[in-house]
């Protein structure tokens, strides 16, 4: 079954798939249930916070799911790219601030420094991704146990190196001035950076889908997800594609990291581990290997987390595990996963 066009295929196959519909109803319905307890304005605010979190989670989860689908690698070092991106951006923002481009910045300067920060994170993440893939991951293809252990070790080492350079404590990350205030939409207060995050998340999703569906590179990657061997014997250097996808995933995670840091206005070395857990849940919910699935999954996790954090703060993390369990019960391969 198709990874990214699950619905179309199911329609083409004909017949009524009760389980699939059940999963869809659950995943859509969850968004509205909180209205029973929350007034509309708070609901909207929470929804926007949830969408922001979802968009940022998607940046991390998309790489994880592609790496898993294409390379069959469960990359537990993915959270480390996230932290590295955040710290790289943190240092750059500190530097830019000495030039007056951050806290005292005009709109243009704010935009400029944000774009620069995101680019830095992308580059740092991409380079680290290439390094890790070439040095470590490439030696472990086909051996799941080894991969998980190695990537876990790599995550630990990378996080510890962060602590060596930047120290182990929480730090406050600077936010470009133009993104500090908020818009006021009919009593609903929207922090400007949240708007930016949602736009970036949706844009990245659209871009990934466009590349995967429309370009030769995308066809190659999708083909590789399904059957590596055929792609290889057609003359494609699958290893280079692997490295590329791994680096792209790492770059996206790093960008997600710096955006998450700006969103939270703080960074700490442990943020990668926590995000990795969220991203894993997202990937399981969405179906391993499916980008669209992880987009949906990320939004669900972000929304559910924010609603529940408002209603029953202690359950906030548990609710995501519960969603994961429910979806696994109905559809063991995730919302859009392949059987």
């Amino acid at each position: 079954m198709a990874a990214d066009t699950g619905l179309a295929v199911s329609a083409g196959r004909g017949g009524f798939d009760a389980r699939r519909w059940g999963a869809w109803i659950v995943s859509v319905g969850i968004w509205f249930i909180p209205l029973l307890w929350i007034d509309v304005i708070t609901y909207m605010t929470l929804t926007i916070a949830g969408l922001t979190m979802g968009a940022l989670l998607f940046l991390t989860a998309s790489g994880l799911t592609l790496i898993f689908g294409l390379m069959d690698v469960l990359n537990l070092a993915h959270g480390a790219f996230f932290v590295w991106g955040a710290y790289a951006g943190f240092s750059l923002l500190n530097y830019l601030n000495t030039l007056g481009w951050v806290e005292m910045a005009s709109l243009g300067q704010s935009m400029g420094s944000l774009v620069l920060t995101l680019l830095t994170a992308l580059v740092v993440g991409g380079l680290l991704g290439i390094l890790l893939e070439k040095i470590i991951i490439q030696r472990t293809y086909g051996n799941h146990l080894k991969q998980i252990l190695i990537t876990m070790g790599a995550a630990l080492v990378m996080t510890e190196i962060i602590k060596v350079f930047w120290g182990p404590n929480d730090e406050v990350i600077l936010v470009p001035a133009a993104f500090k205030d908020s818009w006021d939409l009919v009593d609903i207060v929207v922090n400007k950076f949240r708007g930016v995050a949602i736009v970036v998340g949706v844009a990245v999703f659209a871009a990934i889908q466009l590349v995967l569906q429309r370009t030769r590179l995308g066809i190659t990657v999708r083909a590789g997800v399904e059957n590596r061997e055929i792609v290889q014997v057609m003359g494609y250097n699958i290893e280079r594609i692997f490295t590329g996808v791994f680096a792209a995933g790492a770059a996206l995670a790093a960008m997600g990291g710096v955006m998450f840091a700006i969103f939270k206005e703080q960074i700490y070395p442990g943020m990668g581990d926590e995000t990795l857990i969220f991203a894993l849940i997202v990937v399981i919910i969405g179906g391993m290997g499916s980008v669209a699935g992880s987009f949906l999954g990320a939004l669900m996790v972000g929304l559910a987390f924010n609603y529940v954090a408002f209603l029953v703060p202690k359950l906030a993390l548990g609710v995501n595990i519960m969603i994961m369990a429910v979806i696994l019960l109905i559809r063991p391969s995730g919302l859009m996963g392949r059987k």
């Binding site: 799941h144 070790g153 630990l156 510890e160 060596v164 399981i284």
Partner: protein
């Protein structure tokens, strides 16, 4: 003799030589050493290391039951360990007075919780793919960790829970002095841990030598064939997960008993899981005895590394980066971990057994 089947002959041989094999003698010597160590070295530091080695041997061996004997990678073993530790700590902490039956209550709570959780995890994740098992256990373990950090009223969060033990385990208790050695609460706790660890370890050794254990090995080595032979592999895997996790939670109780203090960082956090993984891999997967080597190596390193760190700080007082590097001992564990997985995947016991087997094969060829 001649009408015995090969298996019977093997068993007969095993029975006859059970108490004269070098393995048995080594086991007895090790046991004697464990009994005598606190009497010879009355320093707290030595006793502390040895007790922790015993506790982690149990935890690592129980992990080996899951990873080494069924090939399922659980990343939630620290969660079961922590459940055990917190059961004892919280029962005693929230009770007005520490009592003996608290141990039984804690064991009951820990066992029922871990059996239930292990069953849930197994049923959810084994249905799909083995890799889900790793992801699910990781997610749940992290969730438990965060829960313990956030639920301040119950767990005192990162401050951790300090508590007192009843009767002769209490640090305030002191008994008679025998031959110059003072019998105190700490020493009694040590022997308690020694007895329970040995019992649990023997249980695990028995378990893998039982018919169930043999089937587990068969499943690990060739699952389709085991299924084709008519074994319900799912049931066996679930059994090993439940068994291993339960023992880990008992190990957690021992840990809490020894430290009299439990915090998320020392029981539930990812570094603990990584420690367990490192120990099992250094010792050798699927060897059970490797857990002793692995636990001993890591715990001893952990104890002596701070000394090295201090030495580094006194020799190079002005290099901040160096100090930070020295502080980050987890960094070295991480590097060591990667190196071991790459270059030493069979671990200590696995490699040693391989060498012995080769030598025997060569000797057989010669004769």
């Amino acid at each position: 003799m001649t009408d015995l089947t090969p298996v019977q002959r093997e068993r007969w041989h095993e029975e006859r030589t059970r108490y004269s094999r070098p393995g048995f003698l080594i086991q007895m010597a090790a046991l004697a050493a464990l009994v005598v160590i606190p009497l010879i070295f009355p320093s707290f530091r030595v006793m502390d290391v040895v007790a922790k080695i015993m506790i982690f041997t149990i935890v690592v061996a129980s992990y080996d039951l899951i990873l080494g004997y069924t090939g399922l990678l659980s990343l939630g073993h620290s969660m079961f360990f922590g459940i055990g530790a917190y059961s004892l700590a919280l029962v005693i902490y929230h009770a007005p007075q520490p009592c003996w039956y608290h141990f039984l209550v804690a064991a009951g709570v820990a066992l029922s919780l871990s059996v239930a959780l292990a069953l849930i995890i197994a049923f959810f994740s084994l249905r799909v793919k083995a890799i889900f098992f790793a992801m699910m256990t990781l997610a749940l373990a992290e969730f438990t960790d965060i829960l313990a950090v956030q639920w301040y009223d119950l767990t005192r969060a990162e401050d951790g829970v300090s508590f007192k033990l009843p009767g002769i385990f209490n640090l305030g208790w002191s008994g008679p002095t025998l031959g110059g050695i003072e019998i105190n609460g700490r020493l009694m706790t040590y022997y308690f841990i020694l007895v329970v660890s040995v019992i649990l370890f023997v249980m695990m050794v028995r378990f893998i030598r039982s018919p169930v254990g043999r089937v587990l090995k068969a499943i690990r080595d060739n699952e389709p064939r085991a299924t084709a032979l008519g074994y319900k592999t799912f049931r066996y895997q679930v059994f090993s997960i439940v068994f291993g996790s339960s023992i880990a939670s008992l190990g957690g109780i021992l840990f809490a008993t020894w430290l009299r203090y439990v915090s998320p960082g020392s029981t539930l956090s990812t570094p603990i899981m990584l420690n367990i993984l490192l120990m099992v891999i250094i010792g050798g997967l699927g060897t059970l005895y490797g857990s002793i080597i692995g636990a001993a190596f890591i715990k001893m390193t952990e104890t002596w590394l701070p000394d090295l760190q201090q030495a580094a700080e006194t020799v190079f007082p002005n290099m901040v980066i160096l100090h930070r590097l020295a502080e980050r001992w987890i960094l070295y564990f991480g590097v060591l971990f990667i190196l071991v997985v790459f270059f030493f995947p069979r671990g200590f016991v696995g490699t040693a057994r391989e060498m012995i087997r080769r030598r025997k094969a060569i000797a057989r060829k010669r004769s």
